[in-house]
């Protein structure tokens, strides 16, 4: 079993790499979005799953990355790959600015603080109209690069998963988890919890920033409502919870399953869809708090680093 997994993974990766040669434009777009969701769910997992500090406003980093990279493209003429990385850097910077004061708070208070974040950023975007286009939105120069963006998204999704793997199997990851288990004890045992929380938070903001930029580039147009929607945070959370927060592959699994679900239900029944997401969150918390992967871990006695 252990030998076969990396092989299966390599085959899958090869398949995904060759996919655009065969697929339609629509097909590429769909997979591109799946990669995006994997990156997002995985990122939320880094802060909320590992340290237990729930972030209810994570979409802020997506939106910030979208605006930052789009502004870099439009006003400074940067090439989109670099601009998207820039978006990630700006998002991480925002995470530092928010995290430095707010991560000192106990878990629930931090969660509340992140709740209002969305509103603030939408206000900021409207305020700096000259730069961001305010409520009218921002248009990017036309570009047909779906295939390139597909690969870029795939890379980011793979990178975040790889980073999660490295963290979960290291002492750094153990320290993050102690924050979730018992923060008082962690502090008493010499762990500078604020510093570790900040690291996790910054890391968790980078990928959303990058994929925000990529998504914006792909759409060609952004406006406040499209890049700071609450449903995006909700979806990230549901995916990570459903698959298994605190694990490596949980968010990937959750993203894959719920993304398929979303494609089928979303377009036609948007409110029912969101209602179901809410119900799934409630169900997971009550019935399988460790997600699907958690259930499998218990049943088949799998190691924690899955």
């Amino acid at each position: 079993m252990k030998r076969r997994f990396p092989v299966a993974l390599a085959v899958l990766a090869a398949g995904l790499a060759l996919y655009p040669l065969q697929a339609t434009g629509y097909g590429i777009r769909v997979m591109l979005q799946l990669f995006m969701w994997i990156a997002l769910a995985q990122s939320w997992n880094l802060i909320s799953g590992l340290t237990g500090y729930v972030s209810f406003g994570h979409v802020v980093f997506f939106g910030t990355g979208a605006y930052a990279s789009s502004i870099l493209i439009v006003t400074l003429g940067w090439a989109w790959p670099l601009a998207c990385l820039g978006g990630g850097v700006v998002a991480a910077g925002l995470a530092f600015v928010i995290g430095w004061p707010c991560l000192r708070l106990k878990g629930p208070y931090f969660a509340i603080a992140t709740l209002g974040l969305n509103e603030v950023l939408r206000v900021v975007v409207s305020y700096y109209e000259g730069l961001t286009g305010g409520g009218n939105g921002l248009s990017l120069p036309t570009l047909y690069a779906s295939v390139e963006i597909y690969y870029a998204m795939g890379l980011v999704a793979a990178a975040v998963t790889a980073v999660t793997y490295v963290i979960v199997t290291s002492r750094f990851g153990l320290r993050l988890m102690t924050i979730r288990e018992d923060e008082v004890a962690a502090e008493a045992m010499g762990i500078d919890t604020l510093r570790y929380k900040l690291y996790a938070f910054l890391l968790s903001a980078a990928a959303p920033g990058i994929v925000g930029g990529l998504s914006a580039r792909d759409q060609g147009y952004i406006e406040p409502l499209s890049v700071f929607p609450l449903i995006m945070t909700i979806t990230m959370i549901v995916m990570a919870l459903f698959g298994g927060k605190g694990t490596i592959w949980g968010p990937v699994l959750g993203a894959a399953v719920l993304f398929a679900f979303q494609e089928v239900v979303w377009a036609r029944f948007i409110y029912l869809h969101q209602l179901l997401f809410g119900a799934i969150i409630v169900g997971v918390v009550l019935l399988m708090p460790r997600g699907i992967l958690g259930v499998l871990q218990q049943k088949y006695n799998l190691p924690r680093t899955i």
Binding site: S48, G52, V54, F56, P101, C102, R104, L105, K106, G107, P108, Y109, A111, I112, A113, L115, G116, L117, E119, V120, V123, V124, S126, Y127, R180, I234, I237, L241, Y271, L272, Q274, L275, F277, G278, A279, I280, I281, V282, V285, L286, P289
Partner: protein, 291 residues
């Protein structure tokens, strides 16, 4: 900027601030009770307020019931909803890590908002009952705001009398201070939890019924109240019920004052900045609270 601030403007701001603040205080008290007794941060508090508003709207629409009389319906109704939520959902996570109850109530809030979307669509509704203002000297006092303030004060005072003087109220305060000790004194803690969640929801519903007369009713209307109620609890100190009153009034004042200097857009960020500042400077609240 560059506006001349006259004393009468300040007076107006103070009046408007206190009127708005009394509503914030009442709604926040509901959230504060739940948090104080069960250490659960009820993210679904706003949606419960929204349900109160829709109840009032429905009754007004179908049988022309006076919105202020509808309080007699919305409060008991949402009390029962709160009890049900506690009994079937929240009870299971009261002793789990706080993260669980946060996520649970978050899920519940999403479900409630979207149920409302399905039932009522996102069309804006309103209850046209009371409009206009009294003019007293240089001040304009909005009639619906005044009525809201009056009822909010009455309900809040009632809540405090209940907490202070009745056995049940004292039991609630006892559990909020120490669950173990209360149990040893023979208090049925489970029952107290049920009642407290119901009460908290009823207070939210009251807020909803009262604002139904003043603002546009739509499924997402409650979100901002969730956040502001949290802010009031933080300002007043967690578990400090009189503190919630002061916190509410303070928030009302600060918001109105900010509106003198800032555009309405930026105003929304005021509450947020206030929260972060208070959390950093005095996390135990302006009065003594238990973090």
């Amino acid at each position: 900027m560059g506006v001349l601030i006259t004393p009468s403007m300040i007076g107006q701001v103070v009046i408007s601030g206190l009127l708005a603040g009394s509503l914030y205080a009442m709604v926040a008290l509901g959230l504060g009770l739940i948090f104080g007794v069960m250490r659960v941060l009820n993210v679904a508090h706003g949606p419960l307020l929204m349900m109160g508003a829709y109840t009032t709207f429905g009754l007004f629409q179908w049988i022309g019931l006076n919105p202020y009389l509808s309080l007699l319906v919305s409060m008991p109704l949402l009390f029962l909803v709160g009890v049900a939520l506690q009994r079937f959902l929240v009870r299971r996570v009261v002793d789990a890590p706080e993260l669980s109850s946060l996520l649970l109530t978050f899920g519940v809030s999403i479900a409630l908002v979207n149920l409302a979307q399905l039932a009522f669509t996102s069309d804006l509704r309103s209850v046209e009952y009371l409009t206009g203002s009294f003019v007293v000297g240089p001040f304009a006092i909005s009639k619906p705001r005044l009525a809201t303030c009056g009822f909010a004060i009455a309900i809040t005072v009632g809540a405090f009398v209940f907490l202070r003087s009745t056995r049940l109220g004292k039991a609630i305060r006892a559990v909020s201070q120490s669950r173990e000790v209360a149990q040893v004194c023979g208090i049925d803690v489970q029952r107290i939890h049920l009642i407290t969640f119901g009460l908290g929801s009823a207070l939210a519903a009251a807020g909803g019924s009262l604002v139904a007369v003043m603002v546009a009713i739509q499924p997402e209307m409650g979100q901002v109240y969730t956040f502001k109620s949290f802010l009031v609890i933080v300002l007043g100190g967690a578990g400090n019920y009189p503190g919630a009153l002061l916190g509410g009034l303070l928030l009302g004042l600060v918001e109105q004052m900010a509106s003198l200097f800032l555009t309405s857009q930026v105003n929304e960020a005021v509450a947020y900045v206030l929260l972060v500042v208070v959390l950093l400077v005095r996390p135990t609240g302006l009065l003594k609270g238990r973090v």
